[in-house]
Symmetry: C2
Subunit: 366 residues, 2 copies
């Protein structure tokens, strides 16, 4: 009410604002034409997605980094969120899982639903052999919300730990397309031995602006073995395929074709242009907050700016401070876990104009 | 090999073959344009789907039958299969569930995954108070695979049973658009009291030929109360919304807009034309098998023809008989449960030409 003459600027959203790239729009148009004709109409997709797209994923996203998979190791779906949560159905209850803190809250909620014991990785470098045997380790790099990346050396330690302790790593690389630094990994499979102990989740939501049209994939290498409830060893890949067949009917042909067209017409540059746009917003925000000494660790590899609140305000007090004074919305860090309190997340997903305007408003007071 | 000169005719598929109706194609085109422009772009859908479509669903699918819901009672998703299986997360393990037999195998598999006790309804009319208290009752009408419908009187008995015994009915009306008879229900909510004890699943897969583009919805009335694991009463609607927020990011805008355009341009007649095409195939098959006394119960309300095998062959022996002699694929009834053995399912989803050709091949021998 106080600020009724000031327009609200939303820098809280983890959602894209640029329209779909033209190669994706063309792909939708092509798919639409195929579905409009009896001769080219195709019905249910396979529960793990169409082979035509799997082949492009392997070729463009993995072969380019010297990694290879068979089509059966790629599971295309509408959403990483669904995959990350549903895969827990394959495991016993009462597991011990290690999660980063702060972290994407979906990992927490889905494990609470299963009654799993959660221990937190508060410092990725010094995470010691835990008090209980860890069965699952969730890693998200570049991290949401902190934007932090992981070095190859550190990630290798996790892969080695998982190998030695029979743990499974769930590697969420939803933001890999935002990576600018050379000294990190785009995929956990750049680490030797990872194919035996890690599955990887990727999404087109932020990479290609697919939030409205839903598409993601996950890699489950064939050599990963898990223990079934009766103690026998089974292939995680086969078990996940069985779960997919039981609970899922596959992703939309329209969304698959949208990104298929981008791959096959060599238009990944269009996706990169959009990402550069968001990263430029991040850069502007980062420079501003860094000049105010509110940034502990500068990140150039994610769409998020993770700042320390001023005057030791709690996350929520700072939320209202930002709203009351500048009519700017952000996300309280405490929403990402206890270690997020005293922090605040802003995103680069707004427009360039709104990002500039937000900085100008804050300049006058902060 | 024996039949290498004979083309295989697939009457096993539960999948549509006609292209998407033109009003849906136009809807996809409109949505595509909205997503191609910054001013009209919209990102993540709500986890239960967009209000613009919920309003049309209530208006067209329910208000026309004197039933009303609020938008919050409609949950739009990519797939009934996902909803039917994922909703089990909300309940304790080791429930007692009642399933029809023969039945859609997904109900069975998802309950086995949860460790639930399954008892079978082999005769819908004479299903007696079961040996254990039934917590969940799955009903699918028109039924897959038998094509049977249920009378209002019988369905009322199930609603009354559920009311009295604190059970929940999961009513799958995936095939309601195929109903030709007057003396049955399109929705369980045509029965008094059902809003307190029943949720309903519908899909656009068969209704609008959406198998490639994935869209479904389910109705969870607000007044349904379930017991949480600690014994407190909670609203199933709120719990399901919470589950959706945790595990799902909503349906595709393209698919929502496809059917939205059909509703708003009054083109539901296009959908009915496609359904009539499939039902005509069913009629041709039904007349043929009825003339051979292979049909126990004629159905005019589903895309399926459920036949008794000849010479008391098992379902699989009859499968090979059909393949060896006529190069016709069908689905062995035993795949739908023990009471399906000795039966065989054929579908009307093939083309008119293939349906005729199949009948001509069989005429010569059967």
């Amino acid at each position: 009410k106080k600020n009724k003459n000031m327009r609200l600027i939303d820098l809280s959203i983890g959602d894209v604002s640029l329209p779909l790239p033209s190669s994706c729009i063309d792909g939708i148009d092509n798919a639409k034409k195929l579905l409009a004709n009896k001769e080219t109409f195709t019905g249910y997709p396979p529960s793990t997605g169409h082979t035509f797209l799997k082949e492009e994923i392997i070729k463009n996203d993995y072969n380019t980094r010297g990694i290879d998979f068979s089509n059966e190791e790629v599971f295309i779906s509408d959403s990483s969120k669904s995959d990350i949560t549903n895969i827990l159905d394959l495991f016993k209850d009462n597991l011990c899982v290690a999660l980063q803190n702060p972290v994407y809250p979906v990992y927490v909620d889905s494990n609470i639903l299963k009654g799993n014991k959660i221990i937190y990785i508060t410092d990725i470098e010094t995470f010691l052999p835990p008090i209980c045997k860890v069965d699952l380790i969730y890693l998200c790099f570049p991290n949401n919300p902190t934007g932090k990346i992981i070095s190859k050396e550190t990630l290798k330690k996790y892969v080695d730990y998982a190998t030695k302790n029979n743990a499974l790593i769930l590697f969420d690389s939803a933001y890999e397309a935002f990576i600018q630094q050379e000294d990190t990994v785009h995929s956990i499979y750049e680490i030797d031995g990872a194919k035996n102990v890690a599955i990887e989740f990727r999404s087109y939501s932020k990479t290609a602006g697919f939030t409205p049209i839903r598409l993601a994939y996950c890699i489950v290498p064939k050599q990963i073995v898990i223990e079934s409830t009766n103690g026998t060893k089974i292939s995680l890949n086969s078990a996940f395929k069985r779960l997919k067949d039981t609970k899922y009917n596959g992703p939309s042909f329209l969304s698959e074709y949208a990104i298929y067209n981008t791959y096959t017409t060599n238009k990944l540059c269009e996706l990169r242009e959009n990402i550069s746009y968001y990263l430029n917003n991040v850069k502007l925000l980062t420079e501003f907050f860094d000049s105010k000494n509110m940034i502990e660790c500068i990140s150039i590899n994610s769409p998020y700016v993770w700042i320390k609140t001023i005057n030791n305000l709690s996350s929520w007090d700072f939320f209202y401070y930002m709203l009351d004074n500048f009519m700017i919305l952000g996300t309280p860090g405490s929403g990402f876990g206890t270690y997020g309190d005293g922090y605040f997340r802003l995103t680069g997903f707004s427009s360039y104009e709104d990002t500039l305007e937000a900085i100008n408003r804050m300049k006058k007071v902060l």
